[in-house]
């Protein structure tokens, strides 16, 4: 189903026109907040707004009901303009229970709308979120004056609207989320049709439960009509469609884009691919997505552990299928010895690290970008590899393709860093024309393709410094690869001192030679000035927005975002030299800043906030100003 963008769209009379709005849905982790959030996003996408999402949920599958640590949230910002972030401040909060209210209220703007299910604000539930005895926030004058709190008896109203459905209380209660969604749809003038279609398809056709579909649709409509008739809201809000470049768009999350990027890369390399991994939050759905794509040239393998996964990928590469594995921080740590093996053997290996808050088990469903130094150095010995980082959900598509291209071109390890925020967050994506994506066909030489004489498995290409990818089953070219140090060219085990020094440098040079085929770093804003905000990874949206905001208020600030971390783009040194000060905001304690300082001898300053969530723009701007005014 697609909707044509009408460039002459006019907001209806009587509604308030907004440039953008931020809505956050919150409730228990079993309440279906992710579902309503993604439904709102899909509807909004079809309507034509630019959007960015930020799902925020606990690690547990069903945490104890009513507790603050069981709260699941979904934030979506949508706009008639180009936006890059899900928003710092919430305009409308939906709180299905007191815990959702308690956890999220502080993020709501003064005067913001707060729609609560007042039926859940019982003594027992209030106690579960550790409000003091006898206190009910809905009766707190301070809160009711600061925010526009609209208490709706959603449980009762949902049940009433479904009373004649013949379904049990439990099933009816499960539709409360749709009731809430209906209210929000009315409030923000969204059409109901896309969600109705989804509910009928999902519950009706896919799950074979048309009665469930029916009550959900009814609850949705009831919520909508409640918004219309209850006259509890001062106004409705209209956010016009955004002016995007012409094209065909879809909604995409980072993990979805990673899946599509990998399968596209296999096709462009004209080579099969094996994705071997072990389930780990937040990377598991890359495995799930690829597992359905056997017909597209990718086989998946769920290994018994992280180490088995990466070793199977390495074996697959030796055998001739591009080996890929995916994980998060803890899995990277487990795989590090095997990374060394890939670098030593010189076979292609792509690793996707969907970073999450660490260390150790950390906070599995919260985002962070603290694996950069691990990706650069976390292996025994001098073991350099190519390191890439995606900057947004849709950028995961292009960077996954780049990872495979570079791994096969240079016969080495490529680590692609993404993070939980962009992996789960979604944005609109202009779908590219598949056929115009450049190819990079892989070659498996036969004896006749190689120079005369005995085969030397480590004889290198002059440009890429890569050895030939000769695979088992090829006549006359039998050879052995090993994890011990090897003699240049022949690959025989060698303990020779000079050879070892030479081989170290060759492996390092090979990684650096990748710089010849990567794009230069682009600066967003003036080419030179007082401050360059330099970032990498999922902070692209917030850093770009902060720099734009600072520039708009008269500050000399530009921004740039690195997608190639090793090797760096060859113009990086020159770009850095054009600014008086380099500021590096990171969701870690200073990792890119450590590398930039040491490699370029510039006095880069870090802005380091490690809260398990994306930056708050205003806070970022304030910190930059602090540094500038020192």
């Amino acid at each position: 189903m697609s909707k044509t963008d009408d460039r002459s769209f006019q907001c209806p009379e009587g509604s308030t026109t907004l440039e953008s709005a931020v809505i956050r849905f919150s409730g228990d982790s079993g309440d279906g907040m992710q579902l309503v959030g993604s439904q709102f996003t899909d509807t909004t996408a079809l309507f034509g707004n630019d959007f960015a999402t930020f799902p925020d949920f606990p690690a547990e599958i069903r945490a104890p009901r009513g507790t603050t640590f069981g709260v699941s949230g979904f934030q979506v910002r949508f706009s008639s303009q180009d936006i890059h972030t899900p928003g710092d401040v919430v305009n409308a909060l939906v709180a299905m229970n007191p815990a959702g209210f308690k956890v999220n209220i502080a993020d709501v703007e003064p005067g913001g709308i707060v729609i609560v299910n007042e039926d859940e604000f019982t003594k027992g539930n209030l106690k579960k979120c550790e409000y003091s005895e006898g206190y009910n926030p809905l009766e707190d004058e301070e809160l009711t004056t600061r925010y526009n709190i609209i208490a709706v008896p959603m449980s009762r109203l949902t049940r009433e609207s479904l009373a004649d459905s013949g379904m049990g209380a439990k099933d009816m209660d499960r539709c409360r989320n749709m009731y809430a969604l209906g209210i929000i749809y009315w409030l923000y003038e969204r059409p109901l049709e896309p969600t109705i279609k989804y509910l009928n398809e999902y519950f009706g056709t896919k799950k074979g439960k048309p009665q469930i579909a029916e009550i959900n649709v009814r609850a949705l409509k009831s919520g909508y009509y409640f918004g219309e008739t209850a006259e509890l809201f001062p106004s409705r809000y209209c956010i016009a469609p955004a002016k995007h470049e012409p094209g065909t768009y879809r909604r995409i999350s980072g993990n979805e884009a990673t899946v599509l990027g990998l399968v596209t890369a296999a096709r462009k390399a004209d080579n099969e691919m094996l994705y071997a991994s072990y389930p780990i939050t937040p990377a598991s759905n890359v495995l799930h997505g690829l597992a359905r794509l056997r017909d597209y040239g990718v086989t998946t393998f769920q290994a018994e552990d992280e180490i088995a996964a990466v070793c199977t990928a390495i074996g697959s590469s030796f055998g001739g299928h591009i080996g890929v594995t995916g994980t998060s921080g803890p899995g990277m740590a487990l795989k590090s010895e095997a990374f060394g093996l890939a670098v030593m053997l010189e076979v292609p290996l792509v690793v996707v690290d969907v970073q999450r808050a660490g260390p150790a088990t950390g906070m599995p469903t919260k985002t962070e970008q603290a694996d950069l130094l691990q990706a650069m150095f976390g292996r025994a010995g001098e073991c350099p590899c190519i390191v890439l980082a995606a900057q947004s959900p849709s950028d995961c598509f292009e960077m996954a393709i780049e990872a495979v291209r570079l791994a096969t071109r240079h016969m080495t390890l490529v680590i692609l860093l993404t993070d939980g925020y962009i992996a789960n967050g979604a944005e609109p994506w202009k779908v590219p024309d598949f056929d115009s994506i450049p190819e990079f066909k892989v070659k498996h030489p036969k004896a006749e393709d190689l120079p005369e004489g005995p085969f030397e498995p480590y004889q290198r290409d002059d440009e890429s410094l890569a050895r030939p990818w000769v695979i088992p089953g090829t006549p006359e070219l039998t050879h052995r690869l090993g994890s011990l140090e090897k003699e240049e060219n022949t690959g025989n085990v060698s303990y020779d001192p000079d050879n070892h020094d030479k081989m170290m440098r060759i492996r390092a040079a090979k990684v650096q030679s990748a710089a010849t085929s990567i794009p230069p770093l682009e600066v967003h804003g003036p080419d030179s000035g007082e401050v360059l905000m330099l970032g990498w990874g999922g902070t692209y949206g917030s850093i770009t927005t902060a720099a734009d905001q600072l520039r708009a208020s008269g500050r000399s600030v530009s921004s740039a975002h690195l997608r190639y971390l090793n090797p760096f783009p060859s113009n990086l040194r020159e770009v850095l030299s054009r600014f008086d000060k380099i500021i590096i905001p990171e969701v870690n304690l200073g990792q890119l800043s450590m590398i930039i300082r040491s490699k370029f001898l510039v006095d880069a300053v870090g802005i380091n906030i490690v809260r398990g969530r994306p930056f708050v723009i205003d806070e970022l701007c304030a910190r930059v100003i602090e540094v500038m005014d020192q």
Partner: protein, 342 residues
């Protein structure tokens, strides 16, 4: 000229020399690995495969140096990780004949988890465990197959943990081909390897291997000509379990447990267990028959030719090859819901 695996009739005639690499063998003189290397170099020419279709994979250890000495494709990988690497190779190309040659530390200590899962999955490959009941390359620590109380450099007062028996692990993991040989008995090893390669699934061969530097004569009871008939029993499918220099002893079931009996005096061959390769419970019983209480069974303890291999199930489910010709990549990128901007 022999008919190759894929029906090709152009298989060359190979000799052991064709499978011998140019690398100087670095095992200690007297090491049991030499005998195994020689046997394997001689058995490969008998197999119906092209030289370039063999891949030898190993982990780390003395045994794991094996691939360097074979002129085939090979990988010397990481300690304990030979099996997942071998799995990846097989998944990339199921026409390859994959061998994993490793030691007791590599396959049962650090690699124990992978051994369990490779066997459970029944990937079509041959695992040769060179069991010398010690850690050789790191100079003499005890291994998971060393006996309780073994005094070594890391256990000067004797080890206090009990060993595992590889065959028992294999039975427990559901391995579909379990065999046991002795390094010096090249004839039996040759025959077993041929059966193992024929077997479509994980074939596991434990080899009693002597480390003459760090654990010399640990297997002497089994390998020496005079003691072997009393301490081991060569299994033959369909034949009763008889052993002894004079073939005067046998194994029978007594109330569900194996019992050593002397023939004569009312006990005849008919009372004895008849070896059945396809009986898993019997395989477990064999894995519990240990020296000195029992003669240790040698040869093919168990084989299940019917259980499908992982790779065959995978390709039955859906082809694991290149993208289907009608795979619509543009449609894949577009997904289920799109909208147009004009």
């Amino acid at each position: 000229m022999t008919t190759g695996k894929n029906g090709t009739t152009s298989l060359p005639v190979y000799t052991a020399k064709d499978f011998t690499s140019d690398q100087y063998v670095r095992w200690c003189p007297g090491c049991g690995d030499y005998a195994v290397l020689s046997t394997i170099r001689k058995v490969l020419p008998k197999l119906p495969f092209k030289k370039e279709d063999h891949v030898f994979v190993s982990g780390i250890g003395c045994a794991a140096r094996f691939p360097y000495y074979m002129d085939t494709y090979g990988i010397h990988s990481l300690h304990g990780r030979g099996l997942p690497v071998a799995t990846g190779i097989k998944l990339a190309n199921e026409d390859l004949q994959v061998f994993v040659v490793s030691g007791d530390g590599d396959l049962l200590s650090i690699g124990g988890n992978h051994t369990l899962h490779a066997m459970r999955r029944n990937i079509d490959m041959t695992i040769i465990l060179l069991n010398n009941k010690i850690y050789g390359l790191t100079k003499g620590q005890y291994s998971p197959t060393s006996e309780l109380g073994k005094v070594t450099v890391s256990t000067p007062r004797g080890s206090v943990d009990a060993p595992v028996h590889p065959a028992a692990i294999a039975v427990g993991a559901g391995c579909t081909f379990i065999a046991r040989c002795i390094d010096v008995d090249g004839k039996m090893l040759d025959a077993v390897i041929q059966r193992a390669v024929e077997h479509k699934g994980t074939a596991f061969i434990e080899v009693y291997q002597d480390c003459n530097i760090f654990n010399h004569q640990a297997w002497f009871y089994a390998s020496q000509k005079d003691s072997r008939p009393e301490t081991t029993i060569d299994l033959e499918h369909g034949k009763p379990l008889i052993f002894g220099k004079d073939r005067d002893k046998g194994i029978r079931f007594n109330n569900g447990s194996p019992e050593v009996v002397t023939l004569g005096d009312g006990i005849t061959e008919d009372d004895l267990i008849v070896h059945n390769e396809h009986d898993r419970c019997l395989a477990f019983v064999y894995s519990q028959m240990n020296y000195p209480d029992f003669p240790e069974p040698l040869g093919i303890l168990y084989s299940d030719p019917n259980k499908p291999s992982y790779d065959s199930l995978l390709s039955q489910q859906a082809p694991t090859g290149p993208a289907k010709t009608d795979a619509d990549f543009q449609k894949l990128l577009l997904g289920n819901e799109t909208w147009e901007v004009n």
